[in-house]
Symmetry: C2
Subunit: 431 residues, 2 copies
Amino acid sequence: MLCWNEESPQQRKQLLARPAVSVSADVKAVVENIINDVATRGDQALLDMANRFDGRTQPRLLVPSVEIAQSAALLSAELKAAIEQAYQNIRSFHAKQLPQGYSLETQPGVSCELQYQAIEAVGLYVPGGSAPLPSSVLMQGVCAQLSGAEVVLATPVKGNEKINPAILYAAKLCGITKIVEAGGAGAIAAMALGTASVQRVNKVFGPGNSFVTMAKQLLSQSLPGFAIDMPAGPSEVLVIADERANPAFIAADLLSQAEHGTDSQVILLCNSKATIEATERQLELQLATLPRAEIARAALANSSLILVESLEQAFAISAEYGPEHLILQIADAERYVPLVKNAGSVFVGDYTPESAGDYASGTNHVLPTYGYSKTYSSLSLLDFYRTYTIQKISKNGLINLSSAILPLASAEGLDAHANAVKIRLEALNND
Amino acid sequence: MLCWNEESPQQRKQLLARPAVSVSADVKAVVENIINDVATRGDQALLDMANRFDGRTQPRLLVPSVEIAQSAALLSAELKAAIEQAYQNIRSFHAKQLPQGYSLETQPGVSCELQYQAIEAVGLYVPGGSAPLPSSVLMQGVCAQLSGAEVVLATPVKGNEKINPAILYAAKLCGITKIVEAGGAGAIAAMALGTASVQRVNKVFGPGNSFVTMAKQLLSQSLPGFAIDMPAGPSEVLVIADERANPAFIAADLLSQAEHGTDSQVILLCNSKATIEATERQLELQLATLPRAEIARAALANSSLILVESLEQAFAISAEYGPEHLILQIADAERYVPLVKNAGSVFVGDYTPESAGDYASGTNHVLPTYGYSKTYSSLSLLDFYRTYTIQKISKNGLINLSSAILPLASAEGLDAHANAVKIRLEALNND
């Protein structure tokens, strides 16, 4: 346990520092080769990589539609219902984000509009790793479905396994028909560049390892018009708890973040020494039965339980840190929500664990990490749209507006800008 | 003149290719040094750079507030009125973009919210170059003002000149009080990192040369939480004109884009050979009197006047190109607006020149270029906000939701995620 007020400014900064993410130069070189390989050899490059990286002896690319259609039959009734319930909640929450343009006559004869256009084609990446991630399909897929974009979903399949039916069923609910069995940087490159089997998309979403992240970065920097969702970093949670909070709940929330990966970061800010000490005991107790205890222990090593003098101090520290997930286990927690700043998603009250939002409450679990919650948004439908503007100016509108355009163009030394107006005014005079 | 239907697919691709933007490795090395210098020496680094790069013998950093307050007195009545008129139009158009959150009970006891938070502090960069750019102040400054962010504006000042009063007056209207006389990569680094005189900001907006662009890129990649507006590329216009369009208007619009820089790109798509030929003659005529003719001629060398078989074909080509500015000089132009895809800003009808939107119609002139209008938005108030989500779950809500969370956590092999729910359900059972 640490006490915030006893730490020096330098130590405080250190406490809130993120674990360094170092990407070796090797990763960049490997990913550049993969991108070039996909650009030149297309499908064959993907098939070779599935063999080499995923140990597929008979790799294939597109999942036949019959497998998607029949996926539900391979699921337990509980899992099928869970996917459906999560889908419904996520869909109803995100449906309220459908954007609407507007138009406005800014001055007589000058009509201006802002309109939304759905991004035409999107790629969704779902990592493989140790387990299938149907929740990742839902969080990205619902948005894509609501926007009406064409969708390609890519996910790796290992060895001689079949693609997991939970992934397929989640995709089916989201109306996704193009599913590619490909992973890593190769999958990202295929969606960004297009191959014979994989449709080229305009924007790629989704989490992934350092190769995936590097591929997203390199392609978004080099391919005109190609975009990615947001910078990716290790996952993190900050819990603010008071003296009456349940230490078992606090420990469970900290561990549910810590089990994500050894680079996860968990922070507890609490105004009670006794509660922190009880949480420390609960952490040991719960770790004892956790299958991913080793990962969680490593993550806890990056993490701190910190005694604060007041809840107000806790909220100020949280705003400085900018956590991806912020959990409030405090009395009358709702009253404190207006104090929240720079959080990705907020979990209010003792009975709102992070895992509710990770899976099923309806909010999106794709959130800014690594301090980016100071500037970046939680994933929303708006990330699948772009805005553009339209103006229509009448002859009289242009006459009215010229008193603003001409002096400004002249002040900026842009004569041709002024000319484009003057030549029209002359035409009107000669009418 | 080229005829689209006579070009091979390869030639068509070439016609729509952007001029390559090559950034030398030198630029990166220079900018890295500048960033390190600002990080270690702060204000003194900025003062030294003002001397070295801008030839300031007595550089200063912050503009005294009295100079901002008295700026109007140094302007001509026309320019003052023009800045005010543009400010009003831009402000009323962007005020309609003030975002609103919502809340929704996705299932009984599960309440979810989406909220908007204004980014706390923003930096606005206004390049110096050959002329002051008050319009750039307005386009960025109005958004910052409406969002309520703390604002730092940076702009270079050359030699022994004073900072231009048009810049100061535009800033004054936008309520900006912190104006820094600094340019280039140093100015960007100062706003991103903070110095004794320059407040640290969360996000930097604004155009600039390759050093500015590189500084924005490097800092947004290395500084956790720091963000930038959008990828920057050379400016461009695509004009779609029909046989009845006025060749003088077409030429004037092409030139108003071409005079921006030698790397600007202008494209005309027209269904009439005669109109294209008349436009070619008008280009020569108008170039003859243009002060920036040399720049415009170089830009025209990257550019093409293309004969199309129909307006529908023109809109399809435009969607493929994704122009920053799209001008429609066609009969009944409004009827064609629904065919527009992937444009940054659209100018509808013979009397709506691009310079109207560049300065004063009310729309924002900060637009995605280089094909990014397929995925990126025109600058709007939303770029000064971020969204985050909140969930509040009641005890019964959690019981209801557990049937979705537990099977999904189990399918994903995340036991601690399930535990965070189970431990709460047990507590409820023991109540």
